[in-house]
Structure formats: structure tokens, C-alpha cells
Symmetry: C2
Amino acid sequence: MAREESLSQERLTVGVAARLSRYLQVLTQAKKMGRDSISSQEIGEYTNVNATQIRRDLSGFGKFGKRGVGYNIDSLIGEIRGILRTSGQHNIALIGAGDLGRAIASSTVFADHGFHIAGVFDSDPRKVGTQISSLSVQNPATLAEMVREKNIIVGVLAVPPAAAQPAADALVDAGVKIIFSYSDALIDTPPDVTVHRSSPAAALLYALYFHLT
Amino acid sequence: MAREESLSQERLTVGVAARLSRYLQVLTQAKKMGRDSISSQEIGEYTNVNATQIRRDLSGFGKFGKRGVGYNIDSLIGEIRGILRTSGQHNIALIGAGDLGRAIASSTVFADHGFHIAGVFDSDPRKVGTQISSLSVQNPATLAEMVREKNIIVGVLAVPPAAAQPAADALVDAGVKIIFSYSDALIDTPPDVTVHRSSPAAALLYALYFHLT
């Protein structure tokens, strides 16, 4: 227990934090499917991380799978959320109410991990006021106010490449610190803002390499 | 030159291949923006990879940036494509013609990296025959034939979580070896098929950790 506490107070390396996030994604889905336990081999198959690496990462904070049974999913989810300090609910702002924005708002891809879409924004006046899931599309002029009121630190960009930089600028001006962009476009932000991009093509290039060689 | 040749014939590690794919994504976008050269610092800002690591990766195959100028983008793109052996055009099958499928088909996120969407499929009879970009949505019954004819080894899943496994099964039966899924759902495939999943929430959890601590 002492060991566990001390480890969860240490700052994780980028690699460990990234892998724990991916394990958490798999565990959350397995729980949704009604599963109680899961083996390191299975987590490995779903994350493309080596099972030995997974066991090493999890034993680092005192979790050991039972032979023939695996890890208790609920307990592991709680533990990883605690370590990543992301147990709470986080509000996010979604920019873009086109096909992609609609797909994101109606999926559970964020909600499953505690990210609540607090507002959808679009600069197209024809889209403002229309309904997406339970949300009414808003004018970006109201973005800063919502970011302040709902304590939003994450913004998701679902806009065409040419609109990515201005939309990111609006998020940054509003005080958002983490941006996830579905566009490949390069975005410049101040040093205290981090940008993550969806990179399906990069993932495929890399998968293709291992398939072709 | 001899060194470069020998290195590009070696099998890359998973980490290097993944990073090269991400550099390639950034270089491709920078080229689209009309840029001729780029520094390791800039690649680092866009990929969240350390500039020292980038210089090490690139010098490994004989590419050295010029101080104050950086790397020649065209030359680096050609080099990385050669090393990843993904210089050609690759046909992909897109499964799902909903909001997400439409957004994917009308974006250049795959085309920019040499992935050509050869066909869009949907099991909903009301969608079959409708037009998405320049493609007519097809019945999944024709999937295997197209995979054979167009030599498709990559399938992209843009379906709701509950439809992910049956859609993946159809791709696997048709002979597809690499699947990219936009759904979080866990998918079981034979060992010779690799599945990559879009993981926006995992990326955010991980970004949040470094932001909050």
C-alpha cells in the first residue's frame, strides 16, 4: 500500500501515461460489454502493446493479474483513473457542427471516459440554433463565456483544415489548454496549450509497414 | 549512402515506425501549406515528440537538418516513404455511410497520405445507391469482390459500436488485413489482422494528466 501510494504520487513518464490511457480505454469497453476480468494477453491484443510490458506497467502500482483469471476490471479502472487523476467529469467544447461534429456529438466516444460535451459551436449562421443530440448549436461569440462558466479546459475541433487555425485561436483566446483536432492541419498555439491530432493515416502507414515487410 | 541503404533494409522497431509515420503526417501538411523546410523543433511541436529524439531518428538514415534552415521537406518525405515502403497508392474500403462516413469520404485525411477510398459500404438498404462525394454507397455483399479486384488490404470502420464486430468480420472474410476503427468497441480478429482504433478520449486523458499535474 505504501508502495502504491508513493508510485501514484510520482510523475508518470509520457510513455507510461499514454499506455495507461490506452489500457483504460480497453477496460472501459470491456466493462461496457459486461466483462468482469481481463488478461494481459487480451489487453495486449486490443492495444497492440506487448503483454509483458502491460504486466510490468500494472505491477508497478501493485496490480497483479491472477493466473487463468486475469485482472479485475472495476478495480483496475479505479486504480488507473486515480493515477491519471482524471476520475472526475470534464466538460469539453466541440467546434464544428458538420457531418463530423454531428457524428461526435451522437457517439459515446468521449462520454465513456468522463468527457461531457458542454457546448457545440459553429461559425455558419445557418447552423446556429439547430439541434445536435440534446444540444443547440451556438455562435462562437459565446464560447469564452461558456468556457469560463463550465470550467472547460478541453476543446475538440471538427472543422475543415482551413478553419482549424482560426477555431484553435478562438479556443485559446477563451482559455482552453488542450485541443484535440480531427483535422491533419498544422496548428500553432502558445507553449502552454497542447494539441493532439487524430492520425488515422499515420496509424495506417505504420500498420502497413509491418504488414508489407 | 551505404549506411542509408543498410538502415532502410533493416526492420524498424515499432516505436521508430510509429514516430516516422507521425513525422510524415506533419511534413505532408507543411508541404501542403507551401513550406520548403522545417526544423526539428517545429516537427516536435506538432508531434509532441522531443526535438532531440527527432534529430536522432532522422540522422539514423543520414538526414541532418541545416542549422537555421532545417530539413528539406520534399527530400525528407521521399526518404521516409521509402523507408516505410509506403510510397504507392493504397486502396481502402470504408464501411459506414452515416455522418462519420460522409465526413471521412469528403475529407483529405486519407488521400493526403496515398490512401484512396475505393468503395463505401453500408448495410442500410436506404443508404445503398446514395452518393457520397464521387462514390455510390454499395451493399456489403459486393465487398469481397471489390477487395479482390482492387487489392484492398485496409478497411476503415465508421459504424456504431454495436456494428463494429460484424463489419470487421465482413472485412476479414473479404481478405482485409488492417482495420482502422473509429469506434471504441473491442473487436476480435484473427492473429494476422491488426486493428487500430481512433482514441480521442485516451489522448485527452493523457493530455489532461500532464496539464493537471
